[in-house]
Symmetry: C2
Subunit: 329 residues, 2 copies
DNA sequence: GTGAAAGCGCTAACAT
DNA sequence: ATGTTAGCGCTTTCAC
């Protein structure tokens, strides 16, 4: 069933049906009624692929995340999806696994599909990724960071500053022997930035360089026991640890209870990334909270503004972060 | 830059470029080299929208979930995405929020986009949803259940049986005053099935009907304290509770520590849905584990088989479930 | 307000 | 192995 068949059934031209479908007000009441009847009688569903080809608008937005399985990224995807749907947009998701090459391939695939916009939870772009995006000329929103040299638009916060804030907090609480646990993937540039800020501020405060222990899986809470043991054996016995990823911190707190390690007495624990569990574990976990929903929602709003051809006033939006101090430090 | 421009640059026909792009082996080595050079020189990216229209294959699969923000659903989305990508498919996600009407709208939108297949984490379909799907004639996989009357294909397990298994386990452990906590949304038919199985088996074992307390947000662990209090005041003081959703159970276990309620001494706790935290909390949580990755992966495999026009031997796949007994019961 | 004509950029089917 | 022809089903543009 094509638009022309509906037109024939309604005794109008295909153009009238097309107009009615997109904006019923453009069609006189009489014809509108006939078209509506014909559409319903035949169960006609417009072919949006053909529409996309003809209009050069796909009404699809793509989002790239390291992994959807991590709630920290699933939430922005959900918020983006929700904010875009009322405007008729659907969301295509790609998981890069923190791999810049996969990211490049996905960007190429999405550009080939002529998506109307792309949201990137970046992974240290390859030069070609940037080139493809520039060449495609579609709106791009970088999420989770505030790049000096944005590809196009960005919604994020200052990752280095978040690490600095944590270092200052631990220092103010009297902790002097710091450690940091972070994700080892090369593509996780934002984790690196947080660590960088943490180490720099520690140095500025006259503290020794934080001991650093990388781990592989950012969501694997069972790593807690292993990492806790590592910390307890660490050179100079750290008295506070900054986990750049809340699940690891939760794992440590739960493991500490079993191992009889007093928190924060023997070891203070805090984390980047708020988590539903942070206030519930015992002791409650000090975290850096980022408005993750807002990240996705803002990205959607900026894209919609662009689609409406209104220029975006503020191409880089800082949603900020907040240090939520709880009992673990 | 269109395919014809590339063809002109390479001194071949558009068809040769098209062939080369999809299967280089179909083109002789000499021409292949020229085409490749022309493609790269011009940074040509095929327009997959036009390709989809001409071939009637979009290489897009849609998946509907209640919400992506819940890890229980995010994992199958990730697994589906991963399994489909090597075959050149991308995934469009829709969040129904457990609302059948939203589900219907999303199904209509996806069908309009001519997706090659749809995966449904169903929400008690409206009749129209079924009609749209039947009319579209595309492969459909229902996830998380084994319907008697599947729309097309299904990958799941027996939800009622999982509730029954839990009831038997609690009875065998000597618990006699059961309660069940479950999600209140009308569209959450699978939670209802688990409760039904639980209650039916309890009756068969001669136990009184389980007390039932519904809650709104399936992922809100802070509900734990409130629900724990409710249970402690419950008529006949339940000695065991089945949480149809692990986050609630985790919340209860964490709250119990603060409230000085002994688990399982004063209250046994178990849950449907395994969770990374289940083995880590104290006491470790007894759960029904479902192979969630397998759910997404199997759905992908079945769709790919269909796309390859090989008939699917087994249109309904039971991935089973497993009762993982831990210290909380 | 409505309709006719001309593509959008690709692939299927057929011919060579 | 390569080229030619004819759409895919819609929207854009322009005429009435």
């Amino acid at each position: 069933m094509r638009i022309e068949d509906v037109a024939a059934a309604a005794g109008v031209s295909a153009q009238t049906v097309s107009r009615f479908l997109r904006n019923p007000d453009l069609v006189s009441a009489g014809l509108a009624a006939r078209v509506r009847a014909a559409v319903e009688a035949n169960g006609y569903m417009p072919n949006r692929v053909a529409g996309a080809l003809a209009s050069n608008r796909s009404y699809i937005v793509a989002i790239l995340v390291p992994t959807i399985a991590n709630p920290i990224h699933a939430l922005p995807v959900q918020a983006l999806t929700d904010a875009l749907r009322p405007a008729g947009y659907q969301v295509l998701v790609g998981a890069t696994g923190y791999d810049p090459t996969t990211e490049e391939e996905l960007v190429a695939a999405f550009v080939g599909r002529r998506v109307d916009g792309i949201v990137l939870t970046g992974t240290g772009f390859t030069p070609r990724t940037r080139a493809i995006l520039a060449h495609a000329g579609i709106p791009v929103v970088q999420l989770w960071e505030l790049p000096d040299d944005p590809i196009d638009m960005a919604v994020g916060f200052d990752n280095e500053a978040s690490g600095e804030a944590v270092a200052r907090h631990l220092h103010a609480r009297g902790y002097r022997r710091l450690a940091v646990l972070s994700h080892a993937a090369a593509g996780d540039t934002r984790s690196l930035a947080r660590c960088r800020g943490f180490a720099r501020e520690a140095a500025r405060l006259g503290l020794p360089a934080p001991l650093s222990y990388p781990y592989e899986s950012p969501t694997d809470m069972t790593q807690g026991a292993r990492l806790l043991a590592l910390l307890r054996e660490g050179v100079g016995r750290p008295d506070a640890v900054f986990c750049v990823g809340a699940p690891i911190a939760i794992g440590i707190i739960l493991a500490a209870a079993g191992a009889g390690v007093a928190i924060p007495g023997e070891l203070a624990v805090c984390a980047f990334g708020d988590n539903d569990l942070a206030p519930l574990v015992s002791p409650a976990l000090t975290t850096v909270r980022v408005p993750r929903q807002e990240l996705g929602r803002q990205a959607a709003l900026m894209l919609l503004e662009r689609f409406a051809a209104r220029g975006v006033a503020e191409p880089v939006v800082d949603v900020g972060f907040e240090l939520v101090v709880r009992a673990s430090t």
